[in-house]
Amino acid sequence: MRFIRDWRPAVSVLLVGLPLAAGLTPTGAAAAEVNVYTTREPGLIKPLFEAFTKQTGIEVRATFVQQGLAERVAAEGRNSPADLLTEADYGSLINLAERGLTQKIDSAVLNRAVPVALRDPDGAWYALSMRARAIWVSKDRVLDQTLTYENLADPRWKGRVCTRAGQHPYNVGLISRMIAKNGAEATGKWLAGVKANLGRKPGGGDRDVARDILAGICDIGIGNSYYVGLMRSGKGGKDQESWGNAIRVILPTFADGKGSHVDVSGAAVARFAPNKDNAIKLLEFMVGDEAQKIYAEIDYEYPVKEGAKIDPLIAALGKLKIDPEPLISVAARRKEASQLVDKIGFDH
């Protein structure tokens, strides 16, 4: 003990460190607050929380977790401070539910607002917004007005296709749906065809696809619908605006013509939520008119609520037809899709 007492550097570090650590420790539930773990970028989701606090007086504390949200909640277990878990894709949502990290809730408001296909049948999670995985083509060099996802493998695009990594959840989602619809073998052939058409190594983000199309590295690529809004609005700066204006957006369908691949962002109430009521309130708020408008206007997403207004930049892309394959069935193919990407060596 004497040693410890005289251990001046350690003591001074502790003196500074402990209060800090204590100050930053989540200390249970205060009267009116709700704690959110989110994989959605804070810039996209913060405006929603601010509006919620303004309306209800309930304070929202959020942590943006890039990866490992499920692991963190699972590890924290019964004492987890998390009330609401928001995810950027359905795969993660379903994963949360399957691992028993969510709880089922029964809310008339939610059930009314969110279409059946876009929520867990038992209320373990709810989609809050949608985006389409679109095909982007060069405004100048590609004349096609309609395309299917399958067309991306056509030999005419050889050396002209750009995309982010095949293992990225956005692409894994698309491939999963194709497996669900066309079967693994056909999807494998298609993916190999797309790989053969690549103009550069898969990588970067969706916006890089637009930039590469502007630069002439590619003529065609895959990207999410909301990025188009973000780029064209100028919110990402002049450069990005020019990228966004270099492309024409096609809302593709699969070969059956039924509709586009749509992914969702969504949320679930955590199993051990200390502020369950507030979490449900926040969830209900997020499907309300005000929040759905924010999704549309700030994030350029498609609102899940029927009849909610779509931002003009997105509305201009054309009418969105949603492929009817249920998310659950798509989600079941994720592992297969990911392994297919490996087998084809898509990212190498």
Binding site: T25, L44, Q167, G237, D342
Partner: protein
């Protein structure tokens, strides 16, 4: 125990501390084992067939490439700066450290943007040649293995430059003089005498740079280079198998540790020599073409590793600031970042000092098991930050829940989570991740202190604690300082552990950059990135200046301190 070591009495608290740290350091490994042990089903045949061979090839090629770049640039620049006189030398000697302040992922963003066909370089060139088609000029693609080697090599070479330069300054000068007097040409003296002498420093520096490369995720994945670490990441995200990811991570940890041990064994006994008496003889003046060549050789890495990415950030940040002004919260992010980084640095350095001290041969019978503790404590550096962070989640939360259960059953009182999602957890992760750095610098410093000095203090009645504080700490100050600065800069740049472990509504510069980059509003991120570079420059400047001072008064061998040997 036949040892009647009276010495044991004096160091028992140190031994206890060592043991504690060893256990704590193994915590994240335990977390990984926890995940890995759940089994990953049929994943491995798939990984073996389709993922790992390519990932392994890519990783080895990347390591080889980065290794060659950092060694050539680091050693070459160190040699020129230490042994020759040429225009701009004094300025370059310091400037060569600047790329330390550039996080690898920023380097990758910057280069993709700058060299892109619609970026400033190609646009400018087209304007000069009067071309309009963006495809008119052929440019090498930065999103490639060579691109990643360039970006990583350009920001990591200082890990080699720093210790090698110190070594050249300190001791090889007189040997090189001797070689010259025996008729060896300057070039031959470099190859036959200076290079072999500097091998331990070069090996230590290269191994640090390679560990950084191996564990890099930001730059590699952004540039589409699918390394093992990227595979771990995709196994976790796309293949939805944290178990498989943990298993790959553990295998990689074993391999990395084995390599590190090999490297240490290779230079076992080759101390960074005690010398330091012989002041370097006059630098060889280089003029004309040779001088310009030397200046260019040293200026190029500064340009590529610092000037380009930094000015990119300045331009990007300026665009944002000129329209919207500085983000309101910038001050708070800086404060958060600096606070976490300083506390973690303080703890890491204090622990490193104690561990190295407890492990030194004089502590009882050859250091005993305590000699292994610094090695164990350096494991964190051989793990990708994401992996360490997720590994840490489990034991930290388990401890929290254990405390909570105990408090509930004893006092009917719930303590909730004390450490999980707290600043303490982030600091803990930083310390574990970067402990290897101050351990390396302090060990190198220790090797230069005459053991008799400690014996002498003991005979005068001083106990272990007093000797550490009154004698060793002051003597090790340069080593401690260098280690502290490197850790500090690394903590500032750290991203994945911060993201995963931080508290609610807690933003650091790195997390803000990531959030903005994830959303694509790079310009907002650029401000925070610039702030990281700016704050990192302060300690880098201090390292540079302390190195400079030492030169004029080489009374005590200062710097190689930075001869960081991890693990």
């Amino acid at each position: 125990m036949t040892v009647r070591g009276e010495a044991r009495l004096a160091v028992r608290p140190l031994a206890a501390l060592s043991a504690t740290v060893a256990v704590l350091v193994l915590a994240p490994v335990g977390g990984l084992v926890f995940f890995a042990a759940r089994g990953s089903g049929d994943l491995w045949p798939h990984l073996f067939a389709n993922v790992l061979p390519a990932a392994l090839r890519t990783t080895l090629a990347l390591l080889l490439g980065v290794g060659v770049v950092v060694a050539v640039v680091g050693v070459g620049a160190a040699w020129l700066v230490a042994m020759c006189r040429f225009p701009g030398r004094r300025w370059l000697e310091w400037a060569l450290l600047l790329p330390l302040s550039i996080p690898t992922y920023i380097g990758a963003y910057a280069y993709l943007d700058v060299l892109h066909p619609v970026g400033p370089v190609q646009t400018g060139l087209r304007a000069i040649f009067g071309l309009t088609d963006p495809r008119a000029l052929w440019f090498p693609e930065i999103r490639s293995l060579p691109g990643a080697i360039l970006v990583l090599g350009a920001v990591l070479y200082p890990y080699v430059y720093l210790p090698t330069r110190a070594l050249f300054l300190m001791e090889s000068a007189s040997m090189v003089d001797a070689a010259r007097s025996l008729g060896a040409s300057r070039w031959r003296a470099f190859l036959r005498v200076a290079m072999p002498l500097s091998r331990p420093a070069v090996a230590a520096g290269v191994s640090l740079a390679l560990l950084e490369t191996l564990n890099d995720i930001g730059a590699s994945s952004f540039l589409g280079v699918n390394t093992l670490t990227v595979s771990i990441y995709t196994t976790w995200t796309a293949r939805s198998s944290i178990e498989g990811a943990a298993q790959i991570a553990l295998v990689m940890l074993v391999v990395a540790s084995a390599l590190i041990l090999l490297e240490r064994r290779a230079r076992h006994g080759k101390r960074f020599a005690a010398g330091g008496d012989a002041p370097p003889s006059a630098r060889v003046p280089l003029s004309g073409v040779a001088g310009a060549g030397a200046a260019a050789f040293c200026a190029l890495p500064v340009f590529v590793g610092f000037a380009v990415p930094a000015s990119y950030l300045v331009v990007q940040a300026w665009r944002r600031v000129s329209v919207f002004g500085l983000p309101e919260e910038l001050g708070r992010w800086i404060a958060n970042t600096v606070l976490l980084a300083s506390i973690a640095t303080g703890i890491a350095v204090a622990i490193a000092l104690v561990l190295v001290y407890a492990a030194r041969p004089l502590a009882g019978n050859g250091g005993g098991w305590r000699a292994a503790v610094p090695r164990i404590a350096s494991l964190g550096y051989a793990m990708p930050g994401t992996v360490l962070a997720v590994g840490l989640l489990v034991p930290v939360a388990a401890l929290d829940n254990l405390v909570d259960d105990a408090m509930r059953s004893l006092f009917g009182l719930s303590t909730g989570l004390l450490l999980s999602g707290s600043g303490a957890a982030v600091i803990f992760a930083y310390v574990l991740r970067f402990l290897a750095i101050p351990i390396g610098t302090i060990e190198a410093g220790f090797a230069k202190i005459d053991p008799a000095i400690e014996l002498s203090a003991r005979s005068l009645g001083a106990g272990a604690r007093r000797i550490l504080l009154r004698i060793h700490a002051p003597l090790l100050r340069p080593a401690i300082l260098a280690g502290a600065l490197l850790v500090f800069v690394d903590c500032m740049k750290e991203l994945p552990a911060t993201l995963l472990l931080r508290p609610f509504d807690f933003e650091t510069l790195a997390t803000f950059i990531y959030a903005e980059a994830a959303r694509g509003t790079y310009e907002d991120g650029a401000i925070a990135a610039l702030a990281i570079v700016a704050v990192s420059l302060l300690p880098v400047a201090v390292v540079g200046l302390s190195g400079r001072r030492e030169q004029s008064a080489p009374a005590f061998p200062v710097q190689p301190a930075v001869a960081v040997g991890p693990a």
